[in-house]
């Protein structure tokens, strides 16, 4: 009787101490939006990418991680001719580099939000970036982030002086 009781207590303690199960969220163009804003002296253009494939891992022990691949050919903008221009070797060179990629290395929780650090690969070049993000894992995975990247860091040099090098990115995830 005592042995049975001790076993039950131990099992309860173990269950309480055991980490929460990993939850994987498939990231697609339906639940993930990546939008950009490019600026130049005379104005700005906005757009995004429609086709995204990836996975977000929410783990009690190892935290949150992201592995996302972006189809550069799904790029869109507010002007069809601009879209075609962006896909040319002047910018994304989609024929040679059809995919862009982001793989997170760490996601650190701060006071109010999180800091996501990871490797962003565009035009075959990889650079580590860090950006603040609001992340919630209640009832699914929600993420909102706005940050800038320098396109010349990835070899996207054409148009310097005419087109700003800084590009604003906005990422929104609402995965269940």
């Amino acid at each position: 009787m005592m042995k049975l009781f001790a076993t039950c207590v131990l099992a309860t303690v173990w269950a309480a101490a055991a980490p929460a199960a990993d939850v994987k969220y498939a990231l697609t163009g339906e639940n993930t939006k990546i939008e950009w804003t490019g600026t130049k002296s005379a104005g700005k253009h906005v757009g995004g990418f429609k086709t995204i494939a990836g996975v977000a891992n929410v783990s009690g022990s190892s935290g949150i991680s992201f592995d996302v691949e972006i189809d550069c050919d799904s790029l869109y903008s507010d002007d069809q001719k601009l879209t075609n221009h962006l896909k040319s070797p002047d910018f994304f060179a989609v024929k040679d580099h059809p995919k862009a990629k982001f793989v997170s290395k760490k996601v650190v929780k701060n006071d109010k939000n999180h800091t996501v650090t990871g490797d962003l690969t565009i035009l075959g070049k990889t650079k580590e970036i860090s950006f603040p993000a609001e992340i919630s894992t209640d009832g699914g995975l929600k993420l909102t982030a706005e940050f800038d990247i320098d396109r010349t860091d990835y070899g996207m040099n054409y148009g310097g002086g005419k087109i700003d090098n800084k590009v604003q990115l906005k990422v929104t995830v609402d995965a269940k």
Binding site: K40, S41, A42, D79, K81, L82, T83, N84, H85, K87, S88, P89, D90, A93, V94, K95, D96, G124, T152, G155, N157, Y158, G159, G160, G161, K162
Partner: protein
């Protein structure tokens, strides 16, 4: 949509500046070496004009890796691998090779220009350059025939531009070549690439500079004939490869713009049958310009430009 302000910058950086630099270089060389400087004058004009334009815009990439300077050994190794093993390790995009094949053609043009060089040697060197240039510009294509077609076009164009240039020294032939490049630049702009368009514009501007210098001192393209021969069809083929999926400009437009100078064959044929009047070159030049204009008209109908 093209900004008027951007267009003004492009005209200054990619047209006026290289034209002025090329004209100055050509005129200077011809003045210092009036008897034997023609070959060098053309090459110096294009080299200086290109360099001047590249100082202000990033259309041409000289480095394999933007984070470190290019070295001769690295360039040679990558080029060798690209020519001999096109399916091998990752290579730079084909448009990376534009300035280097231009330089190679210019140097060979300089070497083969003097009359003392045996014709068989001159042809052997030109064939080698055309083959290497065509290979470097087509190694990402799944089929071989574009390489052969491109090399053949380059050779024919080289022979025609150099031969007619020697027969009819003066501004007309360089001006005709310049207009062919401007037409190519316009077609590419309609096809949504400013980079390739600027490269064609810069090269055309250099030839316009040669034409301007040739007005005062009768000369021809000299050593630059090979540069025009490899770059014009090369740029149009590479541009078509990259832009065909993202542009409404028809294939014919690219073809006409890239091969327009082959209309100089009319002048070559006339000379063969005894016609050496300058009007013959004028008619051939009109044919070249006509083909270029046709290419631009086709492009603009399919994909009109918009300005703001």
């Amino acid at each position: 949509m093209i900004q008027i302000e951007e267009l003004t910058t492009v005209i200054w950086q990619s047209l006026l500046l290289p034209c002025a630099a090329a004209a100055a270089a050509c005129y200077l060389v011809l003045r210092l070496l009036p008897k034997h400087g023609i070959a060098l004058a053309g090459l110096a004009a294009v080299a200086l004009g290109f360099y001047a334009a590249s100082s202000f815009n990033s259309a041409v990439q000289f480095r394999l890796n933007s984070e470190r300077p290019i070295t001769v050994s690295e360039l040679g190794r990558v080029a060798y691998l690209a020519v001999t093993n096109p399916r091998g390790e990752p290579k730079p995009p084909t448009y990376y090779w534009f300035p280097w094949i231009g330089l190679l053609a210019g140097v060979v043009g300089l070497i083969t220009r003097p009359a003392a060089v045996p014709r068989w040697l001159a042809w052997a060197l030109r064939i080698t350059v055309a083959a290497v240039a065509a290979r470097l510009l087509t190694y990402d294509l799944p089929v071989t025939w574009p390489c052969i077609a491109l090399a053949s076009t380059m050779l024919a164009m080289w022979h025609l531009i150099e031969d007619q240039g020697k027969a009819y020294p003066g501004f007309l032939l360089p001006a005709t070549v310049a207009i062919a490049f401007f037409a190519a630049s316009s077609v590419i702009l309609h096809a949504n690439s400013a980079r390739f368009s600027e490269i064609a514009l810069m090269t055309g501007a250099c030839w316009l500079g040669i034409a301007a210098a040739s007005w005062r001192r009768a000369a021809d393209g000299g050593g630059a004939a090979g540069i025009a021969a490899v770059l014009l069809p090369g740029i149009m083929l590479v541009a078509h490869t990259y832009l065909v999926d993202y542009s409404d400009v028809p294939d014919n437009s690219f073809l006409l713009a890239g091969t327009a100078p082959l209309a100089l064959a009319f002048a070559a044929l006339c000379r063969k049958f005894g016609g050496t009047s300058p009007r013959v070159l004028l008619l051939a030049a009109i044919a070249v310009v006509g083909l270029g204009i046709a290419a631009v008209v086709l492009a603009s109908r399919a994909a009109p430009l918009t300005f703001e």
